[in-house]
Symmetry: C2
Subunit: 422 residues, 2 copies
């Protein structure tokens, strides 16, 4: 049945529509941190950050169902749902980040954030890191390293080397922050010289796709100064680290101690319901609206807001940000006790954890990592890999992940590593 | 209470977040073709095409609630929801349009469609009509006439004059199709001469935002030939006319009798749930995925597909496409019997109707039209205006709109026109 489904899928969705795993999983049901396939096999979900408060959380389902039965229309009529949610959301920020534009996807949010930089500065130059992913629109995909766009990369976009744990910029962990800021300063100078001018630097404050290097609080201070001096906006893409994922801090930029001008968010915001947002200072939002006359039909509709509000409720009531800190620290400690000659580093924060596999001379081991991912899946644990070299395990489970779940994860990982060639 | 809400709204969503109507409505509940405000006042909804099968249709609500309680994850796992829906959707098309990319908004769909043209042709030039709106991403908003983008209009986008009912291109309704095709041919030549090359022409086959001029079947044949000869793709944006809105035909391009290479859809697809799609030939979809490595986290998730499938079920079981034809024809006939010296034209198809207000010399009457919109709202009828000059009433109700609803609409319109200055 799954094979027939794969054939129909390739015919209807295109022959090159990607799946995870050599032998894709056919998932039919989810609850909390668990997923079940069509054969009734249960998987521990150590990958999905979208079902943030747990797959099919009854509180979120109920909120969606009740609001969908009551009203679901657009924001050119006045409704309390978006206003109440926006109030709740901006209360999690400081530094004057007090207005919200609600959209449907993180890509839409980043597409707006970049144009906010342009609207405020009147300039077009954009800087991003060089192994990142901020989404899939034409503009935002210019920042990705996946494929060069048809017609070539846009001349107003410069990508700078991003920080790394095992191979720090400039060769030393201590100097990395200054070297990173130096690259950004150089890019600003180039954008100015080439006539684009500098509008914004966008980055994930956890550098998730780069392999989330260990960076001390204050790491982004030098680059924030460079951005400020250059007259542009600092955009924090919180699509991955946001909503308490990193434990203890509600936002990734808080953890590293930097004040962005614009923050974008998406994936976990509605526990799977397509809702995303841009949070910015009032003058930035107003300048963007003035320049672009933006409207988003589905953005901020009452059902999206009800889903997003329920996620906030559950995070608070179930203490999930604290849980991410506690269980994340516990899992990290247990992972650090694992032994295999290719383990180069074990790192992460809250419930975003990884393990980097390298050889004696730090040679990345992507194939080994891929084998570990497949072997974990074969044992009922879903996770994946990321990083510049594809050699880091990506462990990013739903937030109700427990110590017992962490034990299962780590013990299975120990079994898999024991069976891998040394 | 609504006033306090407006104050909070302006503070939290930005001071220049638009609303409909001089005195905005605060809607709290919807059912079928009806909306209720916070004071319990009932409005007949003659505007919203998003709640396509009626506000809060129980069948769609149930589908969303059930699937949200079962599983809601992404398409890198295999799931029957997207495959079953894609199969159902492509069955409504001909001409080899047999693959689907599912996304969250019409803007995302058009952003992809334009890049499909670029991926297939290896060229970047885009042609659109000159009073259109295809969405809000950076790329797609280049096609809009709302505001010029920061940094100026992209050089690879050319906008051509669009057809008109009262002021046909070239001065005669008979010659308009050839004149329109001639403008497109000229734009292709210019894009080629300027080195961009021609990748696609995008248009709404009903020219909804242009004021949906009356155009005979075959009108788009000359332009389709020009596009084909130019080696580009013809993209039909069905966000407004699609899903049976025009009555009798499921898609706007079928009604006018043209075969597009790519079709985009959005608003009505999930009755308010954020779901949208691009339908194209298999080779076009594959070329796009090959060129861009596209993935959309929320796109095609099981809940979106359940909502979209329920919309298809209801359309069929309640005979709503036929209803749109019948009631639309009835409403149009009654509207044509109304008398006021400024009525220049009454036109439309299915449940997408309008009335254009002009003076003796065809001078557009946008202020008069705005007054009619406000007066209708004051009498409990929600509609709006559109067109190049903002002088056409826009009547586009949910599809279960009945003859009784049409009577209420037309009789109220008669009252309003009787009271307007002559």
């Amino acid at each position: 049945m799954t094979k027939d489904l794969l054939t129909r899928r390739a015919r209807l969705l295109g022959p090159n529509m990607a799946t995870f795993y050599d032998d894709p999983v056919h998932i039919v049901r989810g609850q909390g941190v668990w997923l079940w396939d069509a054969d009734g096999r249960r998987y521990l979900d150590c990958y999905n950050n979208v079902p943030h408060v747990g797959h099919c959380h009854p509180r979120v389902v109920e909120a969606i169902a009740t609001q969908a039965a009551t009203l679901n229309t657009h924001t050119r009529y006045v409704h309390e749902g978006i206003v109440d949610y926006a109030e709740r959301l901006v209360a999690t920020f400081s530094g004057g980040l007090e207005t919200v534009i609600m959209v449907c996807t993180g890509s839409e949010a980043n597409d707006i954030a970049l144009r906010m930089g342009q609207a405020v500065t009147g300039k077009t130059g954009i800087i991003a890191t060089d192994n990142t992913y901020h989404g899939n629109t034409h503009l935002v995909s210019q920042l990705s390293t996946r494929k060069p766009p048809i017609g070539g990369h846009a001349p107003n976009v410069i990508r700078v080397p991003s920080p790394d744990s095992l191979r720090p910029l400039g060769g030393s962990a201590e100097g990395q922050a200054q070297v990173f800021a130096g690259h950004v300063a150089g890019a600003i100078a180039r954008l100015e010289a080439e006539g684009h001018g500098f509008s914004s630097l966008i980055l994930c404050p956890f550098f998730a796709n780069e392999g989330f290097p260990d960076l001390a609080p204050g790491f982004l201070d030098p680059v924030a100064n460079v951005v400020k001096k250059g007259g542009g906006l600092l955009i924090a893409d919180e699509v991955q680290p946001g909503f308490g994922r990193l434990g203890g801090h509600f936002w990734g930029h808080r953890r590293i101690g930097v004040q962005p001008d614009v923050v974008t968010m998406g994936k976990p915001m509605g526990n799977g319901h397509p809702v995303a947002a841009v949070v910015a200072r009032s003058n930035v939002t107003a300048a963007f609206r003035e320049a672009f006359g933006y409207f988003n039909t589905f953005g901020g509709n009452p059902v999206s807001c009800a889903a997003a509000m329920a996620v906030m409720d559950v995070l608070e009531e179930e203490g999930l940000v604290q849980n991410a800190r506690d269980v994340g620290a516990y899992a990290l400690e247990r992972m650090r006790a694992l032994r295999h000659p290719l383990i180069g580093d074990v790192r992460g924060a809250g419930l975003f954890l990884g393990m980097e596999f390298v050889g004696d001379e730090l040679e990345p081991q992507p194939d080994f990592t891929a084998h570990v991912v497949e072997a974990m899946k074969a044992r009922g644990i879903l996770l994946n890999r990321l990083g510049r070299h594809g050699n880091c395990l990506k462990i990013r489970p739903p937030m109700p992940f427990s110590r017992g779940n962490a034990d299962m994860l780590v013990e299975t990982l120990a079994e898999v590593l024991a069976e891998m060639p040394r």
